[in-house]
Structure formats: structure tokens, C-alpha cells
Amino acid sequence: MSYIEVENLRKTFTVRKKREAGKLFREKEIVEALKGISFTVDKGELVGYIGPNGAGKSTTVKILSGILTPESGRAEVGGRVPWKDRKEYVRHIGVVFGQRSQLWWDVPIIDSFSLLKDIYRIPEKDYLNRLQELTDALQLKSFMRKPLRLLSLGQKMRAELCGSLLHSPELLFLDEPTIGLDAVSKLALRDFLKWENKEHGTTIMLTTHDMEDISALCSRVMVLGHGQKLFDGKLPELLERFDTVRTVVVKYNTENPKLVLPAGVVKDKKDDEIHITYSPVDIPTADMLAILQNAGTISEMTLQSENIDHLIAAMYKEMDL
């Protein structure tokens, strides 16, 4: 039995539409946020959960963290049903909502932490050890006694992470944790998550729009769109399906290299650089390189695959999201 088991999970919201002219009452519209999602996650896995805005990512996280109750379907995490016996269940999980805050606005963050200690009934010794560990890993020491309102976004996110991990949860949900962070903070955050996953075997489920997060962290990725699961597997597998175009940029020492290109390959000359666009499905990259080498002496060459964001955009488009 897997650690997280989700089967046919459905959730609908009722949205009241604006009243139309001539009608007395507002009409209701039912929005299906999740149309029967199923997946399993093993203990210690680091799973990325992607999809365009409004795909149902956050809804899944909120159901699995015991906040929302689904219409139908089954979900069990470590043998517990999130929306039943919520109080007992949430003791074992941690959640970080990238756009929200759990720490108190105008009291020092250390006080917020000690409140969390009491909320989760963490024994004093465990708390101090864990706090020390997290303080070091997340470099919180310099602003531990400052209130939240004085912290920068990066510092805030680190403090939020610490708050969500104080009780050493088995499972951590991260809902867009890198939103709005600068490059340094993002890298530090990813390193920390890897460390936490490895060191404590914490299962991590992460939703994001930043594909770098996924490629740096997640061994597995799930794609969600229109409330349905569209893909579940390794990131390279996903990319392969949409990564249909490669570009080689070559520079030759030889004057007028004799390039004989097969049909379907586009050649474009810019100054002394030649840009060749081909599809690795039609011509294997090895063959392509052989052709280029036979044409003359190469002085410089770069092989480019398409930008990961473009790939995802292409994928969303193809899946009609």
C-alpha cells in the first residue's frame, strides 16, 4: 500500500454568476475543480504537481491537508482520511502556502514558533533540537527576533518553511513556495528541500509554475489540467514528447562548407554562424552531427533544445488547457 492513495477524487464549487439584466435572481454555476483524480505517492518521494492556473492543483493540496472536503472519492495518507478526524490527521503533515502567511505579523518570529510548539505539543527538547537544525539549514539566526513585517520576501519564505517543519511532519505540501523569490533564495530553498527530503525522508509534494523547481527537485511530475490528470511520470519522459525541435549552431573554419542536408531540415545563415533546425525524431542527432562534420572543419558548435517553459506552453496548448 502506498503512502498517499487518491482515488477518483471530485470537488465542485458553486459560483454565483452576476445577475443578468431582466432576471430577478442570480444564476448559479457549478465549477468542477477536480473531475476524478487518482494517483499514489510512495513514502520519501518528491513529487512535482504542475498545471496552468485554475487546473485544480491547490484544490488537491487543500483536500489532502484536511481543509476542504471533497464531493466524492477516496483519499488516504498514511492510512488516515484527511477530512475525517482532521485534528489527528494534520498533526502529521506540514503545509506551506507560498502566497499566505502563518506567522504573526507584528511579534518576533521566534514567538510564532513557540506558539506552534504548543499547538503541535512538541516536547521542549525535540523542539529546541529541531529549531536549531532548521535555523542552521535555513539561516534564520540573524532575524529570529524580528517581527515578520520587517523581513524580506526571501527571509519570510524561509521562516514560513521553518514554521511548517518544526513538528517534523512525515509529509510536506508546498504550494508555490518559490513564488516571487530571487535567484539566490530559490537555489537555497531547493537545496534545503532536497536536504530535508534526504535527511528525514520527508515526502514532499510541490505545486509550482517554475519549471526549474521541478527539474532541480522532482523525480516525478504530475500534470493537471481542467481538473484531470494528464501526465504522471518522469520529467524527461514528459519533455521528450513535446521536445520535437533541436537547433544546432555551427561555425566553420573552412570557407564555403559543402553542406548536404536531408529534406525537412531548415538552414539559416546569420553572419558566419549557421543555424540548423531539425527534428530528432526524423534524423537522429548522431546522424545530424556526422553530416555537419563531413562538410568541413568545425570551429564552434552548440546544440540547443527548446526552453523548458516553451515546452510546457506547447504542452498546455496541445492538451488544450
Binding site: T69, D111, I119
Partner: protein
């Protein structure tokens, strides 16, 4: 239990940070107190009422001093609903109703003590008929304090109901202003309940609003004899239980129907 005590302590601490707001609150409530007392003095000049003027001014001052306890709202909590930060509280291993109840209690208690005590000292120094008089008796004072505690229980329960409402409407202002209209009228803040016609008083004193401050004040001033204390406390306790149960029911219902909008 530790979680609830801890949030209580934390909220007390937070309240202490707002010393500027405290000073503003004192000045505002002192102003209202003086205007009201002046009004009653003018009224009594032309035609004296059954209730002596000293008692009226004492009533007004006590109402003003604990005004904060009655109507203070925890803006932070409403902001949580508005911004969705409430999501975090919903995934804590605590009972949401009592978690917020203790938070509200801390704010009401600390907020009103910080404002009330300096105000009452100033009011005590004002001339007779304008200021605060000593309690009718020591037992009167003690039973007044007991009744104030039970009144606080009712006030927190009322506030938590408003809070539950705001989860539906997202903005508490409509509901809060409706409730505070009832509150200032029937709690005796606008006009001491003792000055209402006797037949009205029979009904008004039974409402939950009269349990908040009116009952404790009347025990303090000796208008209610100490021997009435058990009946008063019972009435307050019944209301506290009713309001708390109503609040718990409301919260439970909300938790089932909840939507967290936007990401």
C-alpha cells in the same frame, strides 16, 4: 489545552504593542464619557430622575471603560478570512472555535484593562455627579467582577459568531454594524438600561446584551443586591452556553462548506 493558553498569551503580548492605539482609545472614550455625563447633568438640572445622578455617571464611566471589551474586534482574524491566511489555521491540530475564542478573549481582556484602568482612575477624580463613585460595598464589587467575567464569556461568544458570519460574507462590516447597533442599545451603552421604562427593562434585562456590562455595573453600584448574584450568574451562564453552542454549530457548518478562493 496548552495550545489555547499559548495563543491567549500571544494575543496579550500583541495587544501590548499597540500603545498608541490605546492612548487614542482612552481619549476617545473619555470624550464620550464626558459628553454623556454632561448631557445627563443638563437633563437632571431641569428634571431629576428616580436614579440619582452619581449612579448615572458611575454607570456611564464603567460602560465607557469596558467599551473596548464589548465591541473590540480582532482585525487580524477578519483579515485572515479575507486573505485566505485562515487556511493555515485550518490545518492545525486544534479546535478552531476554541482557538479563536481564546484569542478573542485575550484581546478583549487586555485591550479593555489597558484602557479601562487609567480611565477609571481619572473618572474617580472628577467631582461628584460627574465622576465615578466607589462601589456600593466590597461584596458588591466582588460580585460585579464575577458577573463581568461571565459577561466576558458571552461577549467572546458573540464575537465568534460574527466571525463565523464573516466567513460567509467575507466582509464583517455589515453584520458587525447591525450587531453593534443592537449591542449599544440593549447593553446600556447608549442609554443606561436603568433609565428605560420599567416594563421595557423586564424584557431587556433578559437579552444577552444586558448580561455583558449592565448586570456587572448594577451589582457594583448596589442597584442589584448581592443576594441576586446566583440568579444573575445563572442567567449569564445560560446565555454563554447558548451563544457558545450556536457559535460551535456555525463554525462546524462553515468548515463543511468552505471554499478557499484564489490559488
Amino acid at each position: 489545552m496548552r495550545a489555547y493558553l499559548s495563543v491567549f498569551r500571544m494575543r496579550l503580548k500583541m495587544e501590548l504593542q499597540y500603545r498608541g492605539a490605546m492612548l487614542g482609545g482612552i481619549i476617545c472614550q473619555m470624550f464620550f464619557g464626558i459628553v454623556l455625563v454632561a448631557l445627563y447633568n443638563a437633563l437632571y438640572e431641569s428634571k431629576a430622575q428616580v436614579m440619582p445622578i452619581e449612579q448615572v455617571s458611575t454607570y456611564v464611566w464603567l460602560q465607557q471603560a469596558f467599551f473596548r471589551m464589548m465591541v473590540a474586534t480582532d482585525q487580524d482574524l477578519y483579515d485572515k478570512v479575507k486573505t485566505g491566511n485562515i487556511s493555515y489555521d485550518l490545518c492545525r491540530p486544534v479546535n478552531m472555535y476554541w482557538f479563536y475564542y481564546t484569542r478573542i478573549a485575550a484581546q478583549k481582556l487586555m485591550g479593555s484593562l489597558m484602557r479601562g484602568i487609567p480611565m477609571l482612575i481619572v473618572a474617580f477624580l472628577l467631582p461628584k455627579g460627574w465622576g465615578l463613585t466607589l462601589p456600593h460595598s466590597i461584596p458588591g464589587l466582588l460580585s460585579g467582577l464575577a458577573a463581568l467575567f461571565f459577561g466576558l464569556l458571552c461577549m467572546c461568544a458573540l464575537e465568534n459568531i460574527t466571525m463565523a458570519f464573516s466567513m460567509r460574507t467575507l466582509d464583517p462590516r455589515g453584520m458587525a454594524s447591525l450587531l453593534s447597533l443592537l449591542m449599544v442599545t440593549f447593553s446600556g451603552n447608549l442609554l443606561p438600561l436603568t433609565l428605560f421604562p420599567d416594563s421595557w427593562q423586564k424584557v431587556i434585562t433578559l437579552t444577552p446584551y444586558a448580561q455583558l456590562l449592565d448586570a456587572p455595573i448594577r451589582l457594583y453600584s448596589g442597584e442589584y443586591p448581592v443576594s441576586d448574584l446566583p440568579v444573575i450568574l445563572l442567567r449569564q451562564a445560560v446565555w454563554a452556553v447558548i451563544l457558545i453552542l450556536l457559535g460551535i454549530w456555525f463554525w462546524k457548518k462553515n468548515q463543511k462548506k468552505m471554499i478557499i478562493q484564489g490559488g
